[in-house]
Symmetry: C2
Subunit: 215 residues, 2 copies
């Protein structure tokens, strides 16, 4: 069955694109122990260290991305790259990532939520631009077949949670206290969202938590 | 060796005291998955459910407090009540708790940081009132002997972290998204605080994480 998964732990892209260094770019996917996914200046700081904290290389189709992780985290990354059948992104993240060069590290086609597709959309032939989160997730489900739909933006995750469309929330919790910064989850209009107790994978420099969303 | 421990997971007190219901009082000790320890109105909502989510009763010296927890959480609560040799609290928490009736659930003597001790301080013969976090922790170390000093207030934890006096941070992570609320940790003047990878205890309705503070 296709599950819609919010994955707070997807990879950075090495090098520079569009003048923004990725080590300092907006990739709102990891989560420090006090609940932020970037410092107030959008810097991710220590949050991506686990991507290179081990000796296991996990291949992926994007030449700018590499994973050199510990055994436990490798299991998680393999699962993520294997099980993702479609990836839903917000427009801001897509722009910063320069569309992952049309090769998202998961290998999955990307569905971008935007009111206005880029004029040079033909640069990303495997990427689809649609208006609205609900439409994007419906499209992503079609594309994903039996595999999971992964959501890769804070704003889209937020809206999908609001719409009751999210099955799982995956968080990679990094052992650092920022004290201030940019939160991944923001206010839900219908109140608190309960989750099941998580499946736990203890990685090096990241504790990977997989929660089912309670309905 | 005495360790100074920030324990983001100490017990509520059942019943009402000073007109504030404890289920809704300010007990900034637990931590939801998105990093808050209370909602914007100081309500702890689902954060204390794990205290009564199991069948194991862990005794404690406060008649208003009871723990009915799962096996894994019981291990944690036993360790906490056994190992705490002194407890450091801020004045606000002390007032709201009415000084735990001079019987904190850990059984440990309480050191309260305050500029002005209460006039009726003789109501709490096992409680000491001192000025300043540094003095409070020094006093608590003397009192604790070989056992741990536990810090039970957000403001005191914050200041103790700033002063480099904290050895461990313990967080009980509850599977619920608040989306907004009151954070436990706030800005540190010297930047991000790195922690070691945590020891993990998987409790029911709380994931207990014990981090050593990196120096």
């Amino acid at each position: 069955m296709t599950a819609v998964v919010v994955f707070v732990g997807s990879p950075r892209i090495a090098g520079q694109q569009k003048g923004i260094h990725w080590g300092q770019g907006v990739q709102p996917h990891d989560d420090v122990t006090d609940g932020f996914i970037a410092d107030p200046n959008d810097h991710v700081a220590e949050l991506f260290e686990w991507y290179e904290a081990g000796e296991v290389n996990v291949p992926n189709p994007n030449e700018h991305v590499s994973f050199e992780v510990d055994d436990a985290s490798a299991e998680l990354v393999r699962e993520w790259t294997t099980n993702t059948g479609a990836l839903v992104s917000g427009r801001r993240l897509f722009d910063i990532a320069d569309g992952w060069g049309d090769h998202h590290p998961t290998g999955a086609p990307v569905i971008v939520v935007t009111h206005q597709p880029p004029e040079n959309a033909d640069r990303w032939p495997r990427t689809t631009f649609v208006e609205g989160v609900e439409v994007a997730i419906a499209r992503a489900r079609q594309v994903a077949g039996d595999r999971d739909v992964t959501i890769a933006s804070a704003s889209v995750s937020q809206q999908a949670l609001e719409l009751g469309l999210v099955d799982e929330v995956c968080v990679s919790l990094v052992p650092v206290l920022f004290g201030e910064g940019i939160p991944y989850f923001t206010k839900l209009s219908r109140g608190h969202q309960l989750l099941d107790d998580p499946v736990v994978i203890q990685g090096r420099r990241a504790l990977h938590l997989r929660y089912r969303v309670r309905r």
